[in-house]
């Protein structure tokens, strides 16, 4: 594979980590990270985006099928109630992360080395009973803000981008230009590279060969003060980094910026609806389950247009 991606050195990432750090920005006790960008006024403005009343889920179905990208599938059990039941109840067992589940990350989900967001240390934050801070419960009042789709596949003029590609700051700006929109403070962005279209043709993404967000795009997200990153690409693989930055985007987003990550969204229907309505922005409403100490939560984000 030709070198399609140019990675900065790990030393440069160390510098970037410090540059993008929001430690202390919202106080020593802060556990909200970039959700602080979503002010009450931002919520009011976001609500005003609801003009057609069309609502759309951007989650995948919980996946009970085992696969290379879903080694420990969701377990769904229908329960016995009575010999002549008057209703039906069930149970779920599931992991809160992975490559099959649409989920929100708690800010303390990923470390940089042993560093957790806002000057905390992993050994203090993680214990067998759960995270002691920066857990998913910190996000309990939900995320209600403007969502913006950025279609990088369209920028590149392809139905989908290959696994050896990267998304750069220039791509994000090109998408803004093409779509005549500008990402601003408190927005949640959804970066689309056509992954699910690619998987429909080429099969499940090889987890060792993944298209990814490039480091300069992380700086762009910091400068634009986005509240949430979502997209069909996250960390690029392979990459040249050791364990400290092996998942460099998660490490810098979560541990430096406190940037909320919404992993594994279902973007195809969103892209289609944006095309239909000739819009790129919408109201995003979602909330994690209230899991005290939780490292993440399955979620069903709704886009309302």
């Amino acid at each position: 594979m030709r070198p399609h991606r140019l990675f900065p050195s790990e030393a440069e990432l160390e510098t970037l980590f410090d540059e993008l750090s929001n430690a202390g920005r919202w106080g020593a006790e802060d556990e909200l990270g970039t959700l602080n960008y979503i002010s009450p006024a931002k919520r009011v403005a976001a609500a005003s985006l609801v003009r057609t009343g069309k609502a759309l889920s951007i989650a995948r179905d919980l996946d009970t099928k085992q696969s290379s990208n879903n080694p420990s599938p969701v377990r769904h059990t229908m329960c016995y109630q009575a010999h002549e039941p008057i209703g039906a109840v069930d149970e779920l067992a599931l992991g809160t992360h992975g490559f099959a589940l649409t989920h929100l990350d708690a800010i303390a989900h990923v470390y940089r080395g042993r560093d957790v967001y806002n000057g905390r240390k992993a050994a203090d934050v993680a214990n067998p009973g759960g995270l002691t801070c920066c857990d998913i419960l910190a996000q309990k009042d939900g995320i209600f803000t403007r969502g913006v789709l950025l279609n990088i596949a369209a920028v590149r003029g392809v139905p989908w981008m290959g696994p050896d590609q990267g998304v750069y700051a220039a791509d994000l700006e090109a998408a803004e230009k093409l779509q005549r929109i500008r990402v601003g403070t408190g927005d949640a962005i959804f970066v689309y590279t056509g992954l699910q279209k690619r998987e429909a043709v080429e099969g499940p993404e090889n987890l060792g060969q993944r298209i990814g967000i490039m480091p300069d795009a992380i700086r762009w997200m910091h400068q634009r003060e986005i509240s949430v990153y979502s997209g069909d690409c996250v960390d690029a693989f392979p990459n040249p980094y050791g364990p400290r930055y092996s998942i460099y985007f998660h490490a810098i987003a979560l541990a430096a910026m406190g940037l909320i990550l919404l992993d594994i969204p279902a973007l195809e229907p969103l892209v289609e609806l944006c095309v239909d309505l000739q819009r790129s922005d919408f109201l995003l409403a979602m909330a994690p389950l209230r899991i005290k100490g939780g490292t993440g939560s399955p979620v069903n984000p709704i886009a309302i247009f």
Copy 2:
């Protein structure tokens, strides 16, 4: 205990079931029930209720403590990643109903005898792999509508109502009058009787001695065309009915009306915020997990004012 509650006969409930039935109203294939009352225009109107930008969760924390009201508590497990982990992940096991979890019911969650909403039969709808229709996945695009708090404790002039009480249509109308608000088509109502205040003083609710919604209040909900019922009371216990109507409110709401039920909300902070803001209505945004075949889903509903 004096007879505080007057229940109609089971024969009268049979008549009420037929009277309130929405079978066929939205087509033979309908699985949305009263969510059909939430039109796109209703969503637009609901969004316009966001005036202060204040957001509030109305869910309880997932409860990992065992109790008489939570016999099978949520299991939360932190997972091993590596001897020197770069992050934290976890797993959940939980039932989707019960008296401890804030959850949405699938329409086929409760039957009337063997009858399921819209002319279906339980034996066809429930199988070991899940519900074949009227499952929680039918609600995947979420619920985004006007929420209205109806404070019945305030109507009665008490901090909380006792376990031998019932909520009648007249109570709901008295609350409307007191609060100067009117419930209309597509609204989600939240009926408050002060249960959590009572439990704080008297201990966990005895599941055999429960305050409840009275049958004439169900008719009122039908007439007002509400989309969602939520509240700190549901079926009254004890009641005089056999298995066909032992949980008569669930049976009529789900199996006749297709009325969506949001069980076990956390109403105390909502009541406080409504008092603070001198409002009774708000935007309600929530969405179930996308569980194909699921009988319900844990959910974290957000009220935005």
Copy 3:
């Protein structure tokens, strides 16, 4: 497929059920069924079979891979203990039956219609909290008796028998003759038809096309007063019976006889060792987990020669 199997009519099964019933045989309260055949003297005699001291597991590994025969695989989770752990712990989630797990059935696991062993009724025995009697806990003191391998594939002179075959009483007696052994009161028998050899060549058994124990062989088991049936074949499929006898062997063994069933054993290593040692009998030692109300239990039976 040619009619390789001759099934008696369902009416004949009704008669057989009554003929083989052990209801009342060991008292109205009995929950042990054919384990009553294992007397203390039988245990002493069984222990004397230990002559070489060779021990062998006859269980399969718990199976975490999903397949047509294992739709809801075992979930095995390694748990987080500390940032610098001093050990490793884990969790399991599993179903106690199915076609992938070596397990013991509780006597009340299968009904004949609504009839459970010893005159009980399913609606009384099964409740959401578990079985109220004839549960797996009844077998808590374990099974310690003589095991006898009966190699039906050898009787037929084939490496494995096809899915359209049945095992008849005559096969069992032919195996006794060939192996110069006689099955007696309290023995546990292991019937071998070469299934795992077949699966290694032809792939996983089609659950709708299964080799099975024929009804006359069940009568033979009753007459011989065996305590436990195990084998690589159970109920034949397809068969001509309605729901009352759709799994006729389970229904008659459990609900009429109280015959303990050890499902899904791993017989290949046992067959090999029997050949090596030129023996057909051995000491069998196993015990279910003590699951109050349980319908079955994973188990790891040990054969000691």
Copy 4:
């Protein structure tokens, strides 16, 4: 509390660890540890202990009640099969260790620092998918040997010993003398201090105040070449050791000796039966579930007299 227990220094434990190490004793690849002491001849001899044919479980019931000693209780779920079911099936979710479950430890369950039995390192042995060696599957062919009860409470002349007590080598030898028995190579010992009697009176054991095996008793176990330790006391708490030896008995038994530990047995019925039969030894038969990579397994050990 007066100093009832005299602990050697941590430096002395380091020396003891090396002294008792069985690393290399049974080859560089060994994963059986002290199960190597159970020779075929030992199994034959153990079988000859079966003289009355009386069998007894020495496990506790799986515990679905939450308590200070059982924070994450077993989850037992009855499953829906059909509207008119022909049987009952269920599911289990459980942790494989803790203070409520009778379980076998895998040899790699506990480390000394980062050291695992037989020269291995924790970072190599533990991964998210399970243990790569010295897992519970190594014990798959079960444990079939002589069991010996050592009643230390009787030695001390008390119904139960207090939480500030320790069991020393001298206690074990005094029990041998009192009971006129001698522990030898390959035996499994069951040390009884009356804990369950104490708990019946004083309530659940405080996990921070635990009676324990003293280090010189570990040396005695090594010298006597026992195969399995079980008992109602394990590591003494509080103790003066840092993380390397905070659970010094587990650390030395598992990581140095490869001594198999059977935790949380139910000893009261065993003690009673031994008194009744005027015996202290019996055949012990048990086998873990075949969990590849597992750190332990629930087990139901059977004593046969």
